[in-house]
Amino acid sequence: MITVKNLYKQFGKLEVLKDISCNIEKGEVVVVIGPSGSGKSTLLRCINMLEVPTSGDVIVEGIKINEKGVNINKLRQKMGMVFQHFNLFPHLSVLDNITLAPKKVRKIDDKQAMSEALELLDRVGLLDKKDAYPAQLSGGQKQRIAIARALAMKPDIMLFDEPTSALDPEMVKEVLNVIQDLVKEGMTMMIVTHEMGFAREAADRIMFMDEGRIIEQGIPDAIFSNPQNERTKSFLSKIL
């Protein structure tokens, strides 16, 4: 479903991604781990072109997206993204946060958008907050709304950029539970996280990155119990 080929990304002189190639199959849950500054978030952001790759290809559902003339807005509709800092729209109510893009981009009518939004709110357990504004919500609630907002576009794949890193510890679980539900439904996902327990439980495949390269990847048991690479070993020994 997503293929990355020989991807390089530079910010000025700093080379953040070096020759990244990887594949994500439909229905697969890939969790990306690694030390901070290893390029995990940048890789995720290159996949929906929030960062433009310096060179290399990103191919989504058969279309090379980092090419001139490609309608990137159209492609982004199929890729939901959840940010570390939620990025809810503060001037809109919870309901409007969720219905805005479906109404304007998918062009569905108000009634349809509303009923879909209520269904999503029910799914993330926040139906009672539908008329609240983002500033009235806790971090965990904001992130669950952000997930509902992304799902409202009916994406084929969900990208999570450290979805729990900005949360107080007691709120991490409520967000992970929502993501776990998506895993059960078979959603294709790429998740950057530091929650190793969650990674082990939810992932079909773990991808370990360091210094802009994918160092090692494999099923969670293999990576966590029997890492092959020295850098993977040292990273895991520091955090587990």
Partner: protein, 225 residues
């Protein structure tokens, strides 16, 4: 040698209709100038944020030149200079509104640009990630949030312009300041009309800034609703 005369405000009342006329003219002039300023400012701000270098250059040149030269020279250029180029006289009211509006546009564009830039980058990214194009993002996400920062600064610009507009009295437009000069020329007294006119300006600006204070408090409140 100037002969000293005691202050005598009793000369003022008969000029009150004339002064109020001046107040009306000043307000009208400022409103029209701000109107032009907002339109020009919006265009200049968008041009300055454009991806085309030429548009950015034109906008920057406009903003820098206007902000770096005296308003009175700009007014003279429009009123005395332009007729030389276009071959007919520009009425003082039109020259005044144009000069003030053109001047205000430069300042307003920086206000608008700052307001737009102050909206967090994450807002744009979130909108893009939902498949919105840049126009939709501007319209539904950025502008509504930027307005909160822009409006108070615009009221401020309006207040500044009320005071600055007194400069057009030099080309004879009968706004508030010019009325003071006219009263002086009839009564041979300068202090009394000038004080009264200063007081009228103060009432205008003070009322507006008080109004803006309340308005800003209301805007801020909505951040925590």
């Amino acid at each position: 040698m100037v002969s000293k005369v005691k202050l005598d405000f009793s000369i003022i009342p008969r000029f009150i209709p004339m002064l109020l006329d001046g107040v009306r003219m000043t307000i009208l002039l400022t409103l029209m100038a701000v109107g032009i300023g907002v339109v020009l400012g919006l265009v200049a701000a968008l041009m300055k944020m454009s991806k085309f270098k030429l548009l950015r250059f034109i906008a920057s040149a406009y903003i820098e030149i206007i902000r770096g030269t005296p308003l009175m020279i700009q007014l003279y250029l429009v009123y005395f200079g332009m007729p030389q180029l276009i071959g007919f006289i520009i009425p003082d009211a039109i020259a005044s509104v144009c000069a003030l509006g053109f001047n205000s546009g430069a300042y307003v564009s920086e206000i608008i640009r700052a307001g737009i830039m102050s909206v967090d980058r994450g807002q744009t990214e979130a909108a893009y990630s939902l498949g919105m194009n840049s126009n939709m993002t501007m319209r539904y996400i950025i502008i509504p949030q930027a307005v909160k920062n822009i409006l108070p600064a615009l009221v401020n610009e309006f207040i500044t312009l009320i005071k600055e507009s007194s400069v057009v009295s030099v080309i004879g437009l009968t706004e508030l300041t010019r009325k003071a000069n006219m009263i002086t020329s009839v009564t041979f007294r300068a202090f009394e009309p000038l004080i009264v006119v200063a007081f009228l300006y103060f009432i205008l600006t003070f009322t507006l800034s008080k109004f803006m204070g309340g308005f800003e408090r209301r805007l801020r409140k909505s951040d925590y609703r």
